[in-house]
Every structure is written in C-alpha cells, then in structure tokens.
C-alpha cells in the first residue's frame, strides 16, 4: 500500500490534519485509528462546551466530531478503523494490523502523528493500599458510562480536579451515584472555572483542596479511602486523616502524550511537554513526520487542537510539494520564569507567511502579572494578564518580521 500521507489517529487532531491536507491538494491520504469509529475521545465527551472558538457555538463532543467526520466523508478521505499501527520507521514505512486486512505494509511519503494522550494511573501516583476492583481512571469510567452503558459505582470519591474529574463528578451524580468529594492535591483546581461551577457547585459536591488519598481499603471491591490534608510541600499532615466510605475511586490525575511510536523512530522529545519537539509547521525532528494535538502537548480546549492540526496538515502538504524551507537559521523558543513550556520549540521564519501563534502553559497560579516576550534577550512585548493558571493554556501571536535573524525568543511571567 502506498500513500502520500498517512495520519495515525482519527480523533480531532487526525481529522483536522487530514481534511486540511486534502483541501490543499493532497489526494492520497489514509487515516488509521484503533477504535471502531472516528472521533476519538470526543465520542465519550457527551457534555457541551466544544467549538466556541471554531464554530462560535456550544457543541457536545460527538457533535464536534460529527462536523469533521461529515467533511471527511464529503472529501472522500480514506480511513481504516479497528486498526493498530505496530511499527513506524524513519523512512515513514508503517506496519499496521486489523482483523479484516491482516498485517499491512504501508509506505508513505509523509506521516502525521495524532495519537492523543493517555491517563496517568494509580501506579503513576503511588497510592498505597489494597488492590480491589472499583479504582478507575476518570476517562475509562467516562467511556464505560457514556459509550458502553455500564455504571461504574454508586458512592464515589474523585481524586484530581482536572476537567475530566469535574465532568465525571456531574455525570456520575446525574446517573444516580453519590459523589462524596473531589479531592485535589494542589491548593487550586487544574480544571476550567466553569466546570467547577456547573459540575460541582450546581450539585453541592465538596472540593477539598490541598488534600490527597493516602489509603485505599477493600478486598474484592473498594470499601473506602482515607484522605488527608497536605502542606505546601505536598506532605500529608498527621492527624488530618479521614476515612470516607465509598465503592469507587476515580482518578483524574493528569494526561501524558502517547508517544510509543515517536520513541520507536527516535524523535526528539521535550521533557516538559512529554511530546515530540516540533517546529512552526508541526514537523518533528525527522523531516516529513509531523505531529499535532495531545500527542504534542495536552490541550484543554479541542478548538486549539483543531487549529494546531490544520497547521500540521498544511505543513505536510508543503513538505510533499517540496515547499518547506529547511534552512539552518532557526529561532528557538525558550520558556523563562513561570512558563512550563512553549510549543513550537523551533521556528523557521521563512516558513511563516505573516504571523505564528505560540502556545504555552504556566507553572503556577499568577494574578495581575504580565507575559514578557524577549527576542535575543531584549524585551519586545508585554501582555497584561489578570489571571494565569496551569490548567488554562495561554497563547501569544508572533509576527514573522520581528523574529527574522533572531536566535532565540523567550517568554516569562513578570
């Protein structure tokens, strides 16, 4: 099998990238997805709030996916479902497998990685205690409830107040469960403010900040968890332990870009994003292999995934048409004080028409500060911010004329 472009992953990132590439004149495209339907995680996100920036409407996850799936079908873009990519090589050859075609050797001239991310598990955060049934990652529980139609429990404690945890607190409540508490290790929630209001406050679900789960009790099924307060160094404070009887513990303790394939081809990875290092065109350290969406860095809004993935689609088209400039004078982005990471990590000004939106995350909650952009260590621009939080991605627009010939652009919080 030969294609000009293979897109690995049929979620919001893969769909937007493939559609953009097709619209820009690439005809031979294949999307590969391991699930039984396109749309990725959007299918289990049945709540609304998607698409405000792109469509100026408040859509549910499946509706947001549907817009792209319809467009994909209208454009006759080929896709294979229930298909797992087993290997990816530097020359962009792929081995994939599914029950219908068996083992497939696929040759492609360009590849876009859009595998998304996965959830951190109990093992990743080392919760002591027994190992009974009833401990789920929040996203897994979401899939069980919203897609498979299984209720995962009746009395629930949720650890982690990221958006999935908050959304699941409401979902479980509406399905008849009692959510006893959402427990958050940090002194603030990592979720969107609107989700705290409409998922917790609306249902009087307590949010316990600076608390964590220190023990899980139960032999066959969870019987309860012990929570405790933590100090500013996140150590548990003795004497604050409290036992909460429950049959289910949901974990919403972070997402990690899924980069097995990226590692297989030895892409340069960024330790702070957990995803591949990318340039202005979303191209990785291997020419012709692009990446976009949560595989690059975890987003909080799907709208930005779509924007970023269009960029990857465009980049792949330029690569295939030999229009991507490979010049050496690149500008590196550098995350200064208060900034956890900046994407892209590398900017080649000659590949940008006018301006480029760079995405970043801050390390902490800041109030009434400024994002200071420096070019080659000289202050260039200040952006006033009344509120900055790690859970909310920030962006800045960079005009290409301003960075031509520069070596480094840095952003910091002041």
């Amino acid at each position: 099998m030969n294609y000009d472009l293979v897109v690995i992953g049929g979620g919001p990132a893969g769909l937007a990238a493939a559609i953009e590439a097709k619209k820009k004149g690439i005809n031979s495209i294949l999307i590969i997805d391991r699930d039984k339907e396109l749309g990725g995680i959007l299918n289990q996100c049945i709540h609304n709030g998607f698409g405000l920036h792109i469509f100026n409407e408040e859509l549910t996850g499946p509706e947001y996916a549907d817009r792209f799936i319809k467009e994909l079908e209208a454009l006759n873009i080929e896709f294979k479902l229930d298909t797992m990519v087993i290997t990816l090589e530097e020359d962009k050859s792929i081995i994939a497998i599914n029950p219908e075609d068996g083992l497939m050797n696929i040759k492609s001239r360009a590849v876009i990685l859009a595998m998304g991310c996965r959830e951190r598990t109990r093992g990743a955060i080392h919760i002591p205690g027994t190992r009974p049934a009833g401990v789920f990652t929040a996203g897994t529980a979401q899939r069980f409830v919203n897609i498979e139609g299984y209720m995962v429990g009746k009395e629930v404690v949720i650890l982690g107040s990221g958006d999935i945890g908050l959304i699941m607190a409401r979902r479980m409540t509406l399905e008849g469960a009692v959510v006893k508490a959402v427990v958050e290790l940090l002194p603030y929630s990592g979720g969107l403010k609107r989700n705290i209001v409409q998922c917790l406050d609306d249902f009087n679900i307590p949010l316990l900040l600076s608390h964590t789960v220190i023990d899980i009790k139960g032999k066959d099924r969870v019987e309860g968890v012990t929570i405790a307060k933590v100090d500013e160094k996140r150590r548990t404070i003795e004497g604050t332990e409290k036992f909460i009887p429950c049959d289910t513990l949901l974990l919403s303790v972070g997402l990690i870009p899924e980069n097995e394939l990226s590692k297989m081809v030895n892409l340069d990875l960024d330790n702070s994003t957990g995803g591949p290092v990318v340039n202005e065109s979303m191209e990785t350290s291997i020419g012709g292999i692009f990446a976009c969406g949560n595989v690059v860095h975890v987003h909080d809004l799907v709208d930005w995934v779509t924007e970023e993935s269009k960029r990857a689609g465009k980049g792949a088209v330029k690569y295939l048409k030999n229009q991507l400039m490979l010049q050496k004078d690149t500008v590196k982005t550098y995350a200064g004080y208060g900034i956890k990471y900046i994407v892209p990590q590398i900017i080649r000004p000659s590949n940008i028409e006018k301006d480029l939106e760079v995405f970043m995350r801050v390390t902490d909650v800041f109030k009434n500060r400024e994002l200071v952009i420096k070019i080659d260590n000289k202050e260039f621009k200040r952006i006033k911010k009344s509120h900055l939080a790690p859970g909310e991605m920030e962006s800045a627009n960079i005009n290409v004329e301003d960075i031509k010939g520069a070596a480094e652009i840095s952003i910091e919080v002041q």
Partner: protein, 117 residues
Amino acid sequence: MEEKELVCIVCPRGCRLTITKESNDYIVEGNKCNRGRIYGIKEITNPTRVVTSTVKFKNGLLPRLPVKTNGPIPKRLIKQCVEEIKRIEVDYHVKVGDIIIKDILHTGIDVVSTKTM
C-alpha cells in the same frame, strides 16, 4: 444594595463577575463580553443549564446514544429531565439533531440526538 460574585460559565474563559442589585436593576462587572452580562443577570434571577446525557440504543454497534437539551432548561429541572431521558429507548437510525423527546417537562425545549448512529 445586594452584591453577588459569580464565575461566568458561558465560555471556557470563566470571567469573574460581580453583580450588584440596585433598586430594580442589575449591574454586572468583570464580564469581557455582553453574553457575560446576560448570564450574570439570568444566573441571579432564573439560572438555566443545557443538560446532556445518554439513552439506550438498540441494534447498533454501541449501546448508548448521546443526547442533549437543544436549549437551556431551568436548573431546578435538571434531575427530573435526566429521569425522563433515562426511560427512553431508541431502536432506529438517528442523525445529529433528531428530536428524541419533544418539549421536555413543558419547557418548550426538545431533547435531541448528538450523534449519528
């Protein structure tokens, strides 16, 4: 003069609103757009929400069909709305936007499918 602080939930930006009641008028501050002003007043006088859930889906690849109210309903009706939705079974082909329950709880709002299945 009454004062209330709220977080706007119209969009993910989450503006912090301060709503002050002066005689019969409400003054909203902290909003970055007009939708925030409308939300702030509504949240104080008659709070509403869009409800999303799933219904049983028979004879399909997957057993649940996601649905939503195609407009906001009064907050106090959320539980009752979900109870109504739970009773429904769908065993025919549906498209995004197809009506599943018409005029739920006499709100004038329909429950519609959010997926083509």
